[in-house]
């Protein structure tokens, strides 16, 4: 990203607040972690059911957790944008941050594939019935990619350029 764009992020109201209020950064990080555990927890319910580890969960019930995952993701998207505005010149060139963003996009594509390619079929599954192979691959990838996102985020402070 060009320095002009990064400067724009830095000058936003959110960016100014993030740098100006000393407790705001730790509070946002705490919120980012709360969002993380809620999102990963509900994703485990959905993905482990589809993979077949948690076949005791009725598929229809597992699908009810999808909006919760989206809500938790929104918390982390918003707090994440706040971090970026707070210190854009630090994040943009950070290799770990770039990997993390790439993985989130990949997870998003994977989620769209799940929603448009598998969701309707999965909703018709009987209790305890095995999902088809392709759906299992998507669900397994989802968990692996999000674990990658956690690693990418955790590594940001240690891979500064």
């Amino acid at each position: 990203m060009s320095p002009e764009i990064l400067s724009w992020f830095e000058a936003t109201w959110v960016g100014v607040q993030m740098r100006g209020i000393y407790w705001l950064w730790p509070m946002m990080e705490t919120l980012h972690f709360i969002g993380l555990i809620i999102m990963f927890g509900v994703l485990m319910v959905i993905d482990l059911r589809v993979v077949g580890v948690a076949k005791f969960i009725p598929m229809k019930e597992a699908m009810k957790f999808i909006p919760v995952a989206l809500a938790a993701f929104s918390i982390n998207l918003l707090s994440g944008i706040a971090f970026f505005c707070g210190d854009p010149f630090r994040y943009a060139p950070n290799i770990s941050f770039q990997w993390k963003m790439g993985l989130i996009i990949l997870a998003g594509i994977n989620a769209l594939w799940f929603w448009f390619g598998e969701h309707a079929k999965l909703s018709r599954l009987a209790d305890g019935e095995d999902a088809e192979f392709q759906a299992k691959v998507i669900a397994g990838l989802s968990l692996l990619i999000w674990i990658g996102v956690i690693i990418g985020g955790r590594m940001i402070p240690y891979l500064e350029a």
């Binding site: 972690f33 555990i37 509900v42 485990m44 482990l48 969960i57 019930e61 956690i150 590594m155």
Partner: protein, 150 residues
């Protein structure tokens, strides 16, 4: 105090502090373990509090081995991180509170599942569930704040 210094100067503690990859690898493991343990706690308690009622509550116990796997990962990575900064961590309020909340959260999880099995009143079960969730959220919050509080 002698013990804490010895711990800080043990080979794994030095490795974590001084190797370029020591902290990032250990902290990443700790983050993944956290997501697994507290993730299962969140899912089970959401169900207990009334979400997705079509899932039999007791069936979610089958997720516990996965949670224990995450817990073990965090015990090992947590001990390693502790060793690397034993003197400072031992007397840090946020760290002490975090450990207390993990113990409390674990006990409440056990009390919760026992209460459900024994058919305790719904109000009581939900109260324990909320306390359990708050303990685990508190453990995550105090853990995160360890980086900011002396």
């Amino acid at each position: 105090m002698d013990f804490l210094s010895w711990l800080e100067n043990s080979a794994p503690a030095i490795y974590i502090r001084e190797d370029l990859w020591g902290y990032p690898i250990t902290l990443s493991s700790h983050g993944i373990g956290m997501a697994i343990v507290v993730g299962v706690v969140v899912a089970v308690n959401m169900r207990v509090l009334g979400f997705a009622p079509g899932i039999p509550v007791h069936s979610l116990q089958k997720l516990f081995p996965i949670a224990w796997g995450g817990f073990f990962l965090n015990l090992v990575s947590g001990l390693a991180l502790y060793a690397a900064g034993a003197v400072a961590y031992t007397f840090q309020g946020a760290f002490q509170l975090k450990l207390g909340l993990i113990v409390l959260g674990g006990i409440l999880m056990k009390v919760l599942m026992t209460g459900i099995r024994e058919g305790k009143s719904e109000g009581m079960i939900k109260l324990i569930s909320i306390a359990c969730l708050l303990s685990w959220f508190g453990a995550v919050v105090t853990g995160r704040l360890m980086a900011y509080l002396a």
